[in-house]
C-alpha cells in the first residue's frame, strides 16, 4: 500500500511539470445511468502557456479506457469522431455536451455523483493529472 502511495506521489510530482500551461476548469464526469457501459467527461481546458498544446489522449483511474471524442452533426445525424484537440497559446477549449468530450468506458465500479475521478490528459510525450467531479448534470 505504501509503495502505491509513494508511486502516486512520484507520478503527481512528475506530472506537475508536464503539459506546460495546461489547466482544467470545472472538470466533471456525468454520473453513468444504471446499466450504461460508458459515460462522458467535460471541462474547460485552458492553455496558459506560450506554446500551442495538443491533447491527444487520456486515461482515468477506475476506467478501462478513455477516448477523446468529438460529437459532430452531419445531415442531421449525430456522429462520434475520435480526435486530437489543439489549444492555442493563451487559448481555451470547451469539452461540453454535444461537442468535444472524454468518453470513459469499462468502469470497475461506476462512480456516483459527488465522487472524484483522477483523469490524466496527455499532450505528446507529456501528461498531467486532474481531478474531475462526478455529478448528474450541469
Amino acid at each position: 500500500m505504501k509503495t502505491i502511495f509513494l508511486f502516486a506521489a512520484m507520478l503527481a510530482s512528475a506530472a506537475a511539470h508536464a503539459c506546460p500551461g495546461l489547466a482544467v476548469e470545472d472538470g466533471w464526469i456525468r454520473e453513468a445511468p444504471p446499466g450504461a457501459m460508458m459515460t462522458a467527461g467535460y471541462a474547460r481546458l485552458v492553455n496558459t502557456g506560450t506554446k500551442p498544446l495538443t491533447i491527444d489522449g487520456a486515461r482515468a483511474r477506475g476506467f478501462e479506457g478513455v477516448e477523446l471524442h468529438h460529437t459532430v452533426v452531419e445531415d442531421g445525424l449525430s456522429r462520434m469522431r475520435e480526435g486530437r484537440l489543439e489549444i492555442a497559446a493563451g487559448g481555451s477549449a470547451a469539452l461540453a455536451p454535444g461537442g468535444w468530450h472524454l468518453m470513459l468506458f469499462g468502469a470497475e465500479r461506476a462512480p456516483a455523483a459527488g465522487e472524484t475521478v483522477r483523469v490524466t490528459l496527455s499532450c505528446g510525450k507529456h501528461e498531467r493529472e486532474f481531478l474531475f467531479t462526478v455529478r448528474t448534470d450541469r
Binding site: R30, P33, P34, G35, A36, M37, M38, T39, A40, H69, T71, V73, G76, L77, S78, R79, M80, P97, G98, H101, M103, L104, F105, T136, D137
Partner: protein, 219 residues
C-alpha cells in the same frame, strides 16, 4: 322564318357584355387562385422558434414495439396526448444522456404550465438495449420517460416513417460498434401523427414555451 336574334337584341349592349365577360373572368381567376391557395398551400401554422411544425401532420403506418415494462407499444399508445420522441441508444455517452436530462427538465416546466407531454426514448440498438436495460436507463432520468424498442424491421420502418435515421457503425475492436443517429426531437400529436421537429442545440426556455404553446393551443 326569323333570323337568329343578334347579340345586340339579347344582351343589354356590347359595353355591358364586355363588362360581364371581364367580371366573369375576374371571378374565375379569383376562384382559381383561391382554390390553388387551398390545394397547394394549406394554412400555414405559426412556426415555433426552436423547430418546425408541419402544416399537415403526417400519419404513421402501423408499428409494433415493446416498452421498457415488456408491454406492447403500438400506434394506440400515442392516442390522446402529445408525445416527444428521441431516438438513441444506451451505449451513447454524450448526446443521449444530455437529451434525456433535457426531457426531464422539460417535463418539470411543462407540468407547471399545464401542458403535459409523454416522453419516448426509442432505442435503435435492440441487440444491446433489452427492455430491462432500457427501464433502468430511462427511469434513472425520469419516471416520465418511457423506453421503447423493437425488431430491426420494425425500427427501420418506423424511423423511415418518422423521418429520422440511424446507422450502425463498426468500432475499433471486433464486435464493437456505435450508432450514428438523428438528434432531432420528434413531436407527435394526440392522433399519433408527426407534428414537428426540434433540432439541437436545444434551449430549455425556448423549447418549453414553444411546446407549451403548441400543446395548449391544440394545433
Amino acid at each position: 322564318m326569323r333570323a337568329p336574334a343578334d347579340s345586340s337584341q339579347t344582351c343589354v349592349n356590347p359595353k355591358a357584355r364586355a363588362a360581364l365577360i371581364a367580371a366573369s373572368v375576374l371571378v374565375a381567376l379569383g376562384l382559381g387562385v383561391f382554390t390553388a391557395s387551398q390545394v397547394y398551400a394549406p394554412r400555414t401554422r405559426p412556426q415555433p422558434e426552436s423547430g418546425v411544425v408541419l402544416n399537415q401532420p403526417r400519419p404513421l403506418a402501423d408499428f409494433a414495439l415493446v416498452d421498457h415494462e415488456g408491454q406492447p407499444y403500438t400506434n394506440a399508445q400515442l392516442q390522446g396526448h402529445w408525445t416527444l420522441l428521441f431516438a438513441g441508444f444506451t451505449h451513447c455517452p454524450d448526446v443521449c444522456p444530455t437529451t434525456l436530462s433535457l426531457m426531464k427538465q422539460l417535463d418539470a416546466r411543462l407540468r407547471q404550465r399545464q401542458a403535459p407531454l409523454d416522453y419516448l426514448f426509442l432505442s435503435v440498438d435492440p441487440e444491446r438495449d433489452t427492455p430491462q436495460q432500457l427501464k433502468k436507463y430511462v427511469t434513472y432520468f425520469s419516471p416520465a420517460i418511457r423506453g421503447v424498442t423493437g425488431t430491426r424491421e420494425q425500427l427501420d420502418a418506423l424511423c423511415a416513417n418518422l423521418g429520422i435515421a440511424y446507422l450502425k457503425v463498426p468500432g475499433a475492436s471486433d464486435g464493437e460498434y456505435t450508432v450514428d443517429h438523428s438528434t432531432a426531437l420528434v413531436l407527435l400529436d394526440p392522433r399519433g401523427r408527426v407534428a414537428g421537429y426540434f433540432q439541437p442545440p436545444h434551449k430549455l426556455d425556448t423549447l418549453a414555451s414553444d411546446l407549451a404553446g403548441i400543446v395548449t393551443s391544440g394545433t
